[in-house]
């Protein structure tokens, strides 16, 4: 167990290192490098640019710059935003909460709705319900998230007037109920894809479990079907779903970015887009790497939890 975790941890550290290399490579791929923002500013002479380069240490050899930058990543010095000179980590920290609220709500919807649909679909395999869910799942995965957002805004805000068209709530009036009211639309939109994925994975995980020998044994000794499904099948089918939750993180984060844009939700995705707009590279790179770290950590935690819950994994 401990060995598995150490091994998995080592893998994650290698991944983190590669991610940082890749991020650094991207940063310097920019025409003009990290200073391209200043190069476009009118009235900047080559002299000024060179002075800035010296000031930021950009005239040093690339490997040295990488080490310096990577050390900064490790020690929490992720640079400062070009816009307001706030530390990048602080900027991200101020926005991550709103994104997490959205992601957690969407996942809850997915587990409840998608999970239930997947379980019922597997139990009544090839029934009308199963077929409708399977087709519906594929269509849901084909709908562009931002467009579904527009449809939700049009139907529930413009036509019916039930939901606010966006944002996290009016300034200065932030009661919990108002916040919840604003949360419904974006969570629904972000939850669509996650629900579809959960229903699909839950169904196939249930089918795998249904084919096991212990299920046949349970049925053979005359246990009622309700007990067989509820105890023997469901509990085993839920185990792999822990890993799925980790694997879905990139999709969820990407979906959050788009959802936040459509609903002007003040999260990390919007921050990322605004920073691209302003060519605020330190924040763009910071957010990109932060997202990758979140994904690596998420799948590490999921795998470790899976190992704790399912001892068979350790033997593989």
């Amino acid at each position: 167990m401990a060995r598995y975790i150490v091994h998995r941890l080592g893998q994650s550290i290698v991944l983190l290192w590669l991610v940082s290399l890749f991020g650094f490579f991207l940063l310097h791929l920019t025409p003009g490098g990290p200073l391209s923002q200043f190069a476009n500013t009118p009235g900047m002479s080559d002299e000024d640019l060179r002075r800035l380069a010296t000031q930021y240490g950009l005239d040093r050899p690339l490997p040295i710059q990488y080490l310096d930058w990577a050390w900064g990543l490790l020690t929490g010095d992720w640079g400062r935003s070009y816009r307001d000179h706030a530390p990048v980590l602080k900027v991200i920290g101020s926005r991550i909460g709103a994104t997490l609220q959205l992601m957690v709500t969407a996942t809850l919807i997915a587990v409840l709705v998608g999970g239930t649909a997947g379980i019922l679909g597997a139990v009544r395999r090839y029934s009308l319900f199963d077929q409708v869910v399977t087709v519906g799942t594929m269509i849901a995965l084909s709908i562009p998230t931002f467009w579904f957002g527009l449809v939700v805004i049009y139907v529930f805000s413009v036509e019916l007037g039930w939901l606010p068209p966006g944002n996290i709530g009016p300034v200065g009036n932030s009661s919990f109920l108002i916040f919840l009211h604003h949360l419904i639309g974006p969570s629904m939109v972000l939850g669509l894809v996650t629900t579809a994925l959960w229903s699909r994975f839950m169904r196939s995980s249930m089918l795998d479990a249904l084919n096991q020998d212990y299920v046949r044994t349970a049925r053979a000794k005359g246990l009622p079907e309700r007990v067989v499904i509820g105890t023997h099948v469901l509990r085993n089918a839920l185990l792999p779903m822990i890993t799925i939750a980790g694997l879905e993180l990139p999709t969820l984060l990407g979906g959050a970015l788009v959802t936040e844009t459509v609903f002007t939700w003040p999260g990390m995705g919007r921050l990322f887009l605004d920073s691209i707009e302003y060519r605020d590279y330190p924040v763009v790179m910071g957010t990109l790497i932060f997202a990758a770290i979140l994904v690596i950590t998420g799948s590490l935690i999921a795998d470790v939890l899976h190992t704790i819950a399912d001892p068979r994994v350790r033997l593989r």
Partner: protein
Amino acid sequence: MSGGSVLLTDILKDTPARSRLSPTMQRFVRHRLAVFGVVVIVLLALACAIGPLLVPYGHLQLDMRHRFQAPFAGPHMLGSDELGRDQLARLLMAGRISLSIGLAAMVISVVVGSVVGLIAGFRGGALGTVLMRIVDAILCFPSIFLLLTLAALISPSVVTITLIVALTAWMEVARIVYGQIRALRELEFVAAAVTVGSTPTRIMFRELLPNAIGPIIVVATLIVARAILLESYVSYLGYGIQPPIPSWGNMLEKAQQYLTTAPWLAILPGVMITLTVASFNFVGDGLRDALDPRSDKR
């Protein structure tokens, strides 16, 4: 039980031996959604190729007297936008762009992914590990984040957008090919090829790759769907295909402003994206069932 398609599939099921279709084709045709997908894709491609020649308006032609015309309420059949441009003409032209990007990005990512997966899987060792770890590392970045960062770094055009979409999609192909090759290279026909003195390149491309073609075709189809979706995301967010060239994604960029007054501008391009992407997903699903006989049990 009525309708032509049901009849066709019943015939196929009853006379497998006499049918002129191969077993793979039979399984595919039995998958009704996949057939639906193929029909929709063919019709869409035809419409986008020929359609713009038949529509009486150009996709850039302004018509200030008929701005914001609703569908079926005037000279513009599917309505017009804020500049009076014909919605149908624009949808078809946008379809050309979006479909081309989807297909081209698929070809690039399949080639790159196959080569990387092939080399990593066949050579194995340190090189294989390094290549696959790089694949893992890139997969840690949510593709939309990566795509937007790259899009912000380059000057957007149809070619560059295709390239960066491919750049965020090849890793899955690499993983699938890698897995296939790892399993295949232990088989006897590879040992036989080595014995008769085939060069490694020949073994890789003439012996191993053809045997892995099934899963590659499936993932290629699904990547077309993914690429069309991704293109629509970047274009909607303003970093993809730039106006006046229409794409289904950038047609929606403006639509949000006019959601209250001209909702049809937001509905139609989204329906086109969903229809196209769903069709490719259906086809991919059908191909998976058809190319892998074992999947019948699932």
